[in-house]
């Protein structure tokens, strides 16, 4: 087991494994997404309060979940990178940022088009859930801008890591915003003993969350491979690999 972890941390080994795993994660994500779409849009019954508009939940909740999960991953990887000086950890943080930002945008957008027919407003500046999620988007964009401002990658890694770790407070605020302050936003749907969803509605939501997570995994593997090449650009295996790719092209 330890040997396996050691091998995983070796860049050429990781590069190869990530290349092998990415298509499987992507394939599984697409199959699960197709099922969840059918089950969520066709099979699931209409909600008695929200009618068919509730179906937006099947893209809103998975996006919002990933927006928080990706940030947490970014912050944890940054901490590992700072403390143990592990190169791959900084690569993980750098790869997660653009993906996380895109899912944060999705959570905000789908929330907005769900909010309008339900609450009569696209956006509410005083709402804690909306504001903390918007700050999350700015944290991602700030992290990427900060990285881009450094020419030296090691300094970009360190500066970005500090920002990512400080910003993790906001993840906690997003999560508890609907409990701590009064919000237009409804409370938790899953993992809440008071709000119960029938299986025909809940199952597609859970499978969609799994599908989004697998999709995120495939994207991470794909982006990480590039990051590994950049960080190891002077290693012999990278030079050989690039020369081989050139021969194919």
């Amino acid at each position: 087991m330890w040997k396996w972890f050691h091998q995983l941390a070796s860049p050429p080994h990781f590069y190869r494994l990530a290349g092998l795993w990415a298509p499987w994660f992507m394939g599984a994500a697409l199959v699960l997404m197709a099922y969840s779409l059918y089950a969520g849009l066709v099979l699931a019954p209409m909600d008695y309060q929200q009618k068919d508009a509730f179906r937006i939940i099947y893209v809103h909740v998975p996006s919002a979940y990933l927006s928080l999960m990706a940030y947490t991953m970014m912050a944890v990887a940054s901490a590992i990178g700072l403390i143990w000086r592990m190169k791959l950890a900084h690569a993980v943080a750098a790869s997660a940022a653009p993906i996380g930002a895109s899912f944060t945008f999705l959570a905000l957008f789908t929330g907005s088009v769900w909010g309008y027919p339900m609450w009569g407003t696209w956006w509410e500046w005083s709402d804690p859930r909306m504001m903390t999620e918007l700050i999350l988007l700015f944290l991602y964009l700030g992290y990427m801008a900060l990285r881009a401002a450094f020419e030296d990658r090691k300094r970009a890694d360190r500066a970005g890591a500090v920002l990512a770790i400080v910003g993790v407070v906001n993840v906690v605020l997003v999560h508890y915003s609907v409990e701590w302050w009064s919000s237009l936003h409804q409370g938790q749907t899953i993992m809440n003993e008071n709000a119960t969803m029938p299986a025909s509605m809940l199952t597609p939501l859970l499978t969609m969350i799994l599908a989004f997570t697998l999709f995120f995994g495939a994207l991470m593997f794909s982006r990480l491979r590039g990051e590994v090449l950049l960080r190891e650009s002077n290693a012999r295996w990278v030079r050989r690999l690039v020369a081989e790719e050139a021969a194919h092209a």
Binding site: M26, L37, L41, V42, M46, K51, D52, A53, R55, I56, V59, H60, S63, P98, I99, S102, F103, F105, L106, F109, T110, V113, W114, Y116, P117, R147, A148, F150, E151, R153, A156, F215, A218, L219, S222, R223, R225, G226, L229, L230, S233, V238, R239, V242, A243, E245, A246
Partner: protein, 63 residues
Amino acid sequence: MLEFFAMGGYALYVWSAFGVTLVVLAGNWWFARRRHAQIIATLRRSAQVDSPEAQPGFKEVMT
């Protein structure tokens, strides 16, 4: 069938949410692939001349 697409009068909201999600997911995949290709191309160029910083386009991909 038409009833399905009408989404009980919420078609605009439901389909825009799902449509934009599809675009963002596809875009993510496209950008990830493009970045990988760009990195390989940059490394190839810098391998030809042995000073990577001298190459145009190096900085954009490296940051």
